[in-house]
């Protein structure tokens, strides 16, 4: 097992995209090999810049990612993309449509695109996205673009994963500016006002700027970063170099202000908890002795649920009757 993981890690570090894709698959499927590969590559310093792209459904996130790939390639960067789409709550299946927007980059060896389904995870990403980003980094990509599902106000996981979070909004959302105000606004490092070719772009920009002023006042006292607003027409690539410049400026700010380190520390802690939240139940159950008998006793009314749970949490099995 560890032999296979080591081998996979070595191939992946050498830039083998098939190995990278397979390792991400192991993470998605909860195959222990995935965690082993992650441990193999862990410890290496983070190299890749992770840019999260989030925003409401249909805002043009995929189109923007497609345009960002083009611009990043022009700047000589190797790009990995993790594009997350929702799984159907009914069947668990998914139609992963983001890639279709980016398909023209498929034959470029400097680009790796991987679609991921949320598989029941809330928050805008898949459970495996975090690990996948680390693997893409390890495979030698300079930038990892992470596209979330179309989000509402409380699907903000991407901010815990990305170094720079780009929030995409579009003209004509009206009420959704309210939603932005509530959740997305707080996690935005950079704002992209996409579809700036549509009517209403100017008034949308005015609204957003007014909100941004409020937000800047609110953040007074924190290390100063006023999230810039960039108008884009993703479909034509307009504004995309400026958007990337803004992301770069944010990166420089993070390094210069020490905010980057603070965030890294927070991120490590968040990841720690997230991993525990995700893996603890299964591990606990796997470790519990006498689980079948405990359940049987529970169902027969011989013990109560509180006692049974307490016993399993304490690391044991069937509590003494």
């Amino acid at each position: 097992m560890s032999e296979r993981a080591r081998d996979a890690a070595a191939r992946l570090r050498a830039g083998d995209t098939a190995a990278l894709a397979r390792a991400i698959r192991w993470l998605e499927d909860g195959d222990a090999l995935g965690a082993s590969v992650l441990r193999e590559v862990a410890g290496a310093p983070e190299r890749a810049w992770r840019i999260g792209v989030t925003g409401p459904a249909g805002a043009g996130k995929s189109t923007l990612v497609d345009a960002l790939i083009t611009e990043l390639r022009r700047r000589g960067q190797r790009v990995g993309v993790l594009a997350v789409d929702p799984s159907s709550p009914f069947s668990g299946g998914a139609l992963l449509g983001d890639r279709l927007r980016m398909q023209r980059h498929t034959l470029d060896p400097g680009v790796f695109i991987r679609s991921m389904a949320t598989r029941g995870r809330m928050g805008g990403l898949a459970s495996a996205t975090h690990g996948a980003a680390i693997l893409v980094d390890a495979a030698g990509f300079d930038v990892v673009l992470i596209e979330t599902v179309g989000v509402g106000q409380d699907e903000l996981d991407v901010a815990e994963l990305a170094h720079t979070t780009v929030v995409v909004s579009v003209p004509g959302l009206g009420d959704e500016v309210q939603a932005l105000k509530a959740g997305l606004f707080e996690v935005a490092d950079v704002h992209a006002l996409n579809k700036a070719d549509l009517p209403g772009a100017d008034s949308a920009e005015r609204n957003l700027r007014a909100l941004l002023d409020l937000e800047t006042q609110r953040r007074e006292g924190e290390p100063r970063w006023a999230p810039p607003l960039v108008r884009t027409v993703a479909a034509r690539g307009d504004g995309v170099p400026a958007l990337l410049d803004a992301c770069d400026a944010h990166r420089v700010h993070l390094a210069a202000s020490g905010e980057g380190e603070r965030r890294a520390a927070t991120r490590a802690e968040q990841l720690f908890y997230a991993l525990l939240r995700e893996q603890a139940p299964q591990r606990l159950l796997a470790r519990a002795t006498d689980l079948d008998r405990t359940i049987a006793a529970l169902r027969a009314g011989e013990i109560d649920a509180f006692a049974a749970a307490e016993a399993v949490l304490a690391g044991g099995g069937l509590p003494a009757l």
């Binding site: 139609l95 449509g97 983001d98 279709l100 927007r101």
Partner: protein, 568 residues
């Protein structure tokens, strides 16, 4: 001695009594075949019986809703005398091989008594590529005829024009190039362009919604199509430069309401674009023609054809203020739908064709009909299938008597209710599309595409669940039947010959003239002038079909649909 008409309360009382005393007990005793009865495509509930009461409930008014043949709103037909003056024109689709191959098949079909032809092109041609393009390999001369240069079109138009009344040329994406090729070829052959009617579907907007043979982004597709319409109206006023091929929506599983609403919205998008070029509505509307297909649900099919005419007339009169009768009178070509043909038990398809052809005739809308072929689900058509297809049309026309009375089903309570229902639903859907900003927007946002994709899936599930019956497939299927597909043997050598001729033409032409002509095409594309004249010059200089399309692509870009705009 005639009795005074009974009033409707009396009728209602009688019907209630019938239900209570006669039908009720019968159904209670014997049950019914199905738990619920619905129409095939709309899935509308069907009552056991329709009476004048149902007409009242829909608010049916004879003069307003049905009227008289040849008069507004044309529900009962666009011709005052139905098919008594003249039967519908009979056409058949063909296209394969080189220009010479097509001309040979075309001559054969004209000898069979058909008076019109439809030419379709192979995939490289409809996608704006030359036969030697890498993506074209294996496709040249396959699903249609290959046209690379004027030399190919000259070969294709080697036809007895005295027998040909009508030619439809289906080349939606590159239609201006195709038009220019036809014009130049007619000139070289010395044929008077106005001796026959050329119909060009020029139906690029529908390609974006379902068929997929687009080249440029939708807004540019619309501009190119508008150039063709404008050019033809100004120069060849007898031709028909636009056909809204709602049959393709239907083939993509649109239900009748979607087919009409999407089709009319698309028509209005073209219309608005042409009006913006400085025409009056009555100068333009008469040029619009429509091509539809019918399905197996007989009454849905007939009602659709009647509603088709009525809605067009209303739109033209009330929305556009048209007044000329030619503007209000729908030009329609109808055909049985290939999508209802089955691969299993292929001879059954002859029965389906007969029934659908009958629906077309009874729907009375079609000035022209085409007949697909019973082996079309299998293969490119064989000559036998062509002969049978023509015979089916003739049987309906001459043996059944349905062509001798105008709109013989008119007045059927069920049919009139269905006609009204379709009409009302279509107007509601058109309004929905209007509020989204019209057809072009609905295409750009993928509204049409997603609606069609959903309908495709639902319909497929209807078939798999058995709600919808298909004989030979989920009803009376023969287990273990070999579903063989035999592709009509194509001359395997055609692709090689086609490429050879293309390369010979390229070698022999004046290269610098071509370069100049293509530069003119680009210049025109970047501005607003009509593209047809510069393209015609390029064609005459033997610029290739692919080169001209590429010049336009340079300026317009290409269309790459995404998940929203493919509907997947």
């Amino acid at each position: 001695m005639s009795q005074p008409p009974r009033d409707r309360d009396d009728l209602r009382a009688h019907q209630e009594r019938w239900e209570r005393e006669t039908r009720g007990p019968h159904v209670a005793a014997h049950g019914e075949r199905l738990a619920e009865f619905r129409t095939q495509a709309m899935r509308w509930p069907v009552k056991p019986l329709y009476t004048p009461q149902d007409l009242d409930e829909t608010g049916f008014d004879y003069l307003r809703d049905a009227g008289f043949p040849g008069e507004y709103p044309f529900t009962r037909g666009t011709s005052p005398d139905g098919y008594r003056t003249e039967l519908w024109r009979m056409l058949q689709v063909t296209g394969f091989g080189t220009g010479e191959d097509w001309a040979r098949r075309g001559r054969y079909m004209l000898e069979q008594g058909l008076n019109g032809l439809i030419i379709e092109y192979d995939l490289p041609t409809t996608n704006g590529l030359d036969s030697d393009h890498p993506l074209a390999a294996g496709e040249v001369c396959r699903a249609g005829t290959a046209i690379d240069t004027l030399a190919d079109m000259e070969a294709a138009l080697d036809l007895p024009f005295e027998k040909l009344q009508h030619l439809t040329s289906v080349c939606n994406g590159p239609q201006p190039v195709n038009l220019a090729m036809i014009l130049a070829a007619l000139e070289k052959r010395g044929v008077d362009p106005d001796s026959f009617t050329l119909q060009m579907p020029n139906a690029i907007l529908i390609e974006y919604t379902c068929v997929g043979r687009y080249i440029y982004p939708p807004a540019h597709g619309l501009r190119v199509a508008t150039d063709v319409i404008e050019y033809v109206i100004r120069n060849h006023p007898r031709w028909v430069p636009i056909a809204v091929v709602s049959a393709q929506l239907y083939a993509a599983r649109a239900n009748p309401v979607q087919e009409l609403a999407f089709g009319f919205s698309i028509a209005m998008q073209y219309l608005d674009a042409v009006l913006a070029r400085g025409f009056a509505i009555d100068e333009v509307a008469p040029y619009f023609s429509f091509i539809t297909g019918v399905d197996m649900d007989f009454f849905e099919a007939v009602a659709k054809l009647r509603a088709y005419r009525k809605i067009w007339a209303k739109l033209m009169r009330d929305r556009y203020g048209a007044t000329k009768p030619e503007s209000l009178r729908l030009r329609l070509m109808a055909s049985p739908g290939t999508m209802s043909l089955t691969l299993q038990q292929p001879l059954n398809n002859i029965a389906r064709l007969g029934i659908q052809m009958l629906a077309c005739a009874l729907g009375g809308g079609a000035q022209t009909m085409t007949s697909p072929l019973h082996d079309e689900a299998h293969a490119l058509p064989s000559e036998e299938a062509i002969a049978v297809g023509a015979a089916v049309q003739n049987i309906v026309a001459h043996e059944t008597g349905v062509a001798d009375v105008v709109d013989p089903l008119g007045g059927s309570y069920y049919l009139e209710v269905m006609t009204r229902k379709i009409e009302d639903a279509v107007f509601a859907e058109i309004e929905k599309i209007d509020t989204q900003g019209g057809a072009l927007r609905a295409i750009e946002t993928g509204y049409f595409q997603r609606a069609l994709a959903q309908e495709q899936y639902d319909r497929h599930r209807d078939l798999e669940s058995g709600r919808r019956k298909l004989v030979g497939v989920n009803q009376g299927a023969v287990s273990g039947e070999k579903r063989s597909i035999e592709l009509f043997e194509l001359d395997a050598d055609a692709e090689r010959r086609q490429i050879e001729r293309l390369q010979r033409v390229r070698a022999e032409r004046d290269g610098s003239a071509v370069t100049r002509a293509l530069a003119r095409v680009r210049e025109a594309a970047a501005g607003t002038e009509n593209l047809v004249p510069p393209i015609l010059e390029a064609v005459k200089a033997y610029a290739t079909h692919g080169e001209i399309c590429e010049a336009l692509r340079d300026v317009f870009g290409s269309h790459h649909p995404d998940s929203l705009t493919t509907g997947i």
